[in-house]
Amino acid sequence: MDLTKLLPILAEGFLVSIKIFALTLLFSIPLGFVVSALKMCKIPPVRWIINAYILIMRGTPLILQIMFIYFAPTMLFKADAPPDRFWAVIVAFSINYAAYFAEIFRGGIQAVPKGQFEAAQILGFNKMQTFFKITLPQVIKTVLPSIGNEVITLVKDTSLAQVIAVSELFALAKKQASTQFSVMPLFVAGVFYFVFNWLVTLLFDLGEKKLSYYK
């Protein structure tokens, strides 16, 4: 099979990978903020729960978490049918990445000097104004490089969705490789990931440059 036939097949898989990527970011970033806020909360039981959640999410393989989300409803909770494969992946990725993002955000929030909050308080800003005008912009600047790292990892992690037979880029490439007895499809898939991550890197570099107007 030549490249002109292979490319459309892989492109279709790549679209699924990008969907996983985009939806995961869409859900995990806000969720990460909520989790980081809860982790800094003053009520101890809330902190314990959040700590356990983060420990499990970061301490076990994502591939296992995907399988759990997909198989647990039928095998553990006696549901009639398994959940939709694609959405099971989105849920697993979102709660997994939220745990990583939460820790990054917490670091970013704690890196904002206490004096910033005191100045905001003295000037009469309310909590919302303080968060959106003072805290968030400074947090974004400090966390951007670490977020960039996670996002690049996420691009590659989307290939884990194949474990529950979601037809994303890597799953399709592997299938093509075995039917054609060729490594070409896998190589092309690699190029897809590489180019996409190159763009992601450029985007984050641009972001960092844009925020370098202050120290």
Partner: protein
């Protein structure tokens, strides 16, 4: 009428009593300096009055509004959020290390609070900010970012930021301590100018010569209490209390050493 009335102010951190029973007044247009050794509770007192710390007991009255309404189970009970907000608007605080917002330009540092807290129009706020910057000798820095300014310039911006809200009183917590000695003069000059305009101010400072020069009254604090209070000529020239004498003596020795 006293603009600020502090009565029996006490502040404890757990079991540690940092301020024990402080009372004083500040009248309209008056400049009060607060001096005292490190750890004597000067900052804590300012922070209590500015609602950055919860007071343990006592009362604070700013421009006729009571911050504390009573006491319950040995803890001060605070007035309603509305009253506290009103009090907040009447006082400004200038920090030792400026605490400017690094991601805002100098102009936006000054206009942000008037626009989003006092709901003044952006044009009006900017006009006022430019006027204040002019007064601080920083009109050409409006578009700069704090990291591009010297410490002295940053502190002048932070004073302009406080003044932009037109407070009735201004508090300073060691406004020159984070500055190189050659930069302290420019800040002291600004404060002197404000004093000449009859701005009501409370200044915590280690600059004895300045305190003597600019204040109407001086308080000497030590160990969480007011040890001595008086007009500068009395307190510096003829201190009554033994602890005041010792503190001032140590200071003048250090100053002389510094001069030579």
């Amino acid at each position: 009428m006293a603009m600020l009335e502090v009565r029996n102010l006490r502040k404890c951190y757990d079991d540690l009593e940092v301020i024990s029973d402080i009372s004083f007044d500040v009248n309209e247009g008056e400049v009060l300096s607060v001096i005292g050794p490190s750890g004597s509770g000067k900052s804590t007192m300012l922070r209590c009055i500015n609602q950055l710390e919860r007071i343990t007991s006592g009362s604070v009255c700013v421009c006729g509004e009571n911050m504390i309404t009573g006491e319950k189970n040995g803890e001060a009970v605070y007035a309603s959020a509305d009253v506290l907000k009103k009090i907040r608007r009447n006082v400004g605080l200038v920090f030792q290390n400026f605490n400017l917002f690094p991601h805002f330009s100098v102009l936006r540092n000054i206009t942000e609070a008037p626009v989003s807290v006092l709901k003044i129009s952006k044009e009006q706020a900017e006009a006022k900010a430019m006027e204040l910057l002019g007064k601080m000798g920083l009109a050409d820095k409006a578009k700069s970012y704090p990291c591009e300014l010297s410490g002295g310039q940053q502190q002048r911006v932070s004073i302009a930021r406080a003044l932009a809200l037109s407070p009735q009183m201004l508090f300073f917590d060691e406004p020159t301590s984070a500055l190189d000695p050659e930069l302290t003069g420019e800040i002291l000059a600004v404060i002197k100018e404000l004093a000449a305009e009859k701005m009501t101010m409370v200044i915590v400072t280690h600059e004895m010569a300045f305190a003597r020069d600019v204040s109407d009254r001086v308080i000497f604090m030590d160990g969480g209490v007011i040890v001595e209070e008086g007009v500068p000529s009395e307190l510096f020239g003829n201190p009554k209390n033994e602890r005041t004498k010792q503190f001032l003596k140590r200071y003048s020795e250090n100053t002389f050493k510094g001069d030579k």
